[in-house]
Point group: C2
Chain length 295, copies 2
């Protein structure tokens, strides 16, 4: 199967899993149910579920074993987008070309739907029978730490506090490592746990995740200045024009490109400690996709 | 030990546990850490931790076994107060005589601190070694369901949607059963799990919890019209004057008092199926305290 077909089938798998999770939650309140579904089933690349699946399968695990973790992480990713979009936070009206949750519904509903998705993530991890209790508990703990006050939430706090201030390269890295890196890392980590990985394999997958998480962000900043408006769906150079801190503004374009390449090679080299080349094929393809994409 | 001393010692126990949970979380971001501590360590009666402790001890469990669940539930209670107080929700400026979290800090910080407390609750349940993984996982699942979209969050959604509308008695009961009842019930349930209760004991404790949870609310509504302003710290009859739906406005004062008594007896009778009279002493005292309090 070509990687693009694998990507599409993984998206379908994640979307079906998310629909089933919401269905199974049997949400009584119409408005909360609609708001949760509106944001959760709004498309999205489903990169995090793919990382759970590919990590689990690289170690001989099954898609059934990977599914609860994949859904839980995507529910948390969705809640974080809803809350980050709120007027008191980033105050965004549009998300994936549609009104944000608080615009389509109202602020109170958006806050509650976000809270509900975050809570549902822990229900989904705990409430399935594909994995032993010990492993589900480890997944739950890893997820709480990654999403929590020293993980993703610290990233959003750093982002809010960085507004209008020039960051150092180390500060910019720390921001991304928390804001997006923590969930990407725990995706690989939970996938590894689902496949009963040994600690070395889990650590190597986390190293891979850290490298591609950062590479994704560097490539985003490169595309902001090199891609056409049509490819990106936003004005070329708009991040730099808005005075945002980016790898390109701090390093320059050439050094940013070198950084992306170096992270790509770091990711591949970490995978050598996980499993053989055939087993890690999808993870290697994903790393390549991240730094070769043009949108 | 007199009940009032037991209550005070339980508050100290819960406060120390909450401080230790925040300390152990080692929160890097100053502002998020301060906001989380500000709201979590703001006093409060600590009724939910007491219910965890008394339920666990009634079944022969220890305070050490009860502590993680007690802290987790109080962290979730605190997050719910922070989010409920937000301008888009109940828009409250004061909580326990001090500025609400978004007033003392800012809205973005309050949203993030609430999210972080909710997430930390699941970390606290998963990350301790007093209980087998199987039990911690059951606690985590029970907590997610109680706090989630068909539990406490549904209660807040019902409350928002009830504004300016007259409720039936059944609707009012359903509102309270979700908004406050779900966490009270899971407090007893998690305490029972910590003591390795059998399913009958757990179910009986949940029945007790449902009765005292509702009794607490009925008594609140009675006190709104019978207690002096000095006792309650707010104007006598203010709920009724504001057109809020209360048990007294729907049932009348005498029938509300009878309802409180009947719930009290229901709670005591459920306890007979949990353990002997000596073991359930604190739970019986708590039921009496709830309907005899005058503030």
């Amino acid at each position: 199967m070509h990687f693009s077909d694998y990507l599409a089938s993984c998206q379908q798998w994640a979307n079906a899993g998310l629909s089933a999770s919401l269905e199974r939650a049997n949400i009584h309140n119409d408005r909360i149910r609609e708001a949760m579904a509106y944001s959760t089933l709004a498309g999205g690349k489903r990169v995090r579920p793919l990382l759970v699946l590919a990590s689990c399968e690289a170690l001989g695990g099954t898609a059934e074993q990977a599914l609860p973790a994949a859904c839980a992480i995507e529910l948390i990713h969705t809640y974080s987008l809803i809350h980050d979009d709120l007027p008191a936070m980033d105050d965004d009206d549009l998300r994936r070309g549609r009104p944000t949750c608080h615009k389509a519904f109202d602020e109170a509903t958006a806050i509650l739907a976000g809270d509900a998705l975050l809570t549902l993530a822990f229900e989904v991890v705990a409430d399935h029978d594909q994995l032993p209790a010990e492993i589900r508990l480890k997944q739950s703990l890893a997820l709480a730490k990654a999403a929590g006050c020293n993980g993703m939430i610290e990233g959003q706090a750093r982002d809010m506090q960085a507004t209008g201030r020039e960051l150092t390269l180390d500060e910019l890295k720390a921001l991304h490592e928390h804001k997006t890196g923590a969930l990407i890392r725990v995706a690989c980590s939970m996938g590894a746990l689902a496949a009963n990985a040994n600690p070395d394999q889990r650590a190597a997958l986390e190293e891979y995740a850290d490298a591609i998480g950062l590479a994704f962000q560097v490539q985003d900043d490169i595309l902001d200045v090199t891609a056409t408006a049509e490819e990106m769906g936003k004005t070329q150079g708009s991040d730099i024009a808005q005075g945002k801190n980016t790898y390109v503004s701090l390093l320059g374009l050439d050094a940013a490109k070198q950084e992306a390449q170096s992270l790509y090679h770091k990711a591949l080299s970490a995978l050598e400690r996980v499993a053989d080349e055939q087993q890690t094929l999808r993870l290697r393809e994903l790393a390549a996709y991240i730094i070769h994409r043009n949108s």
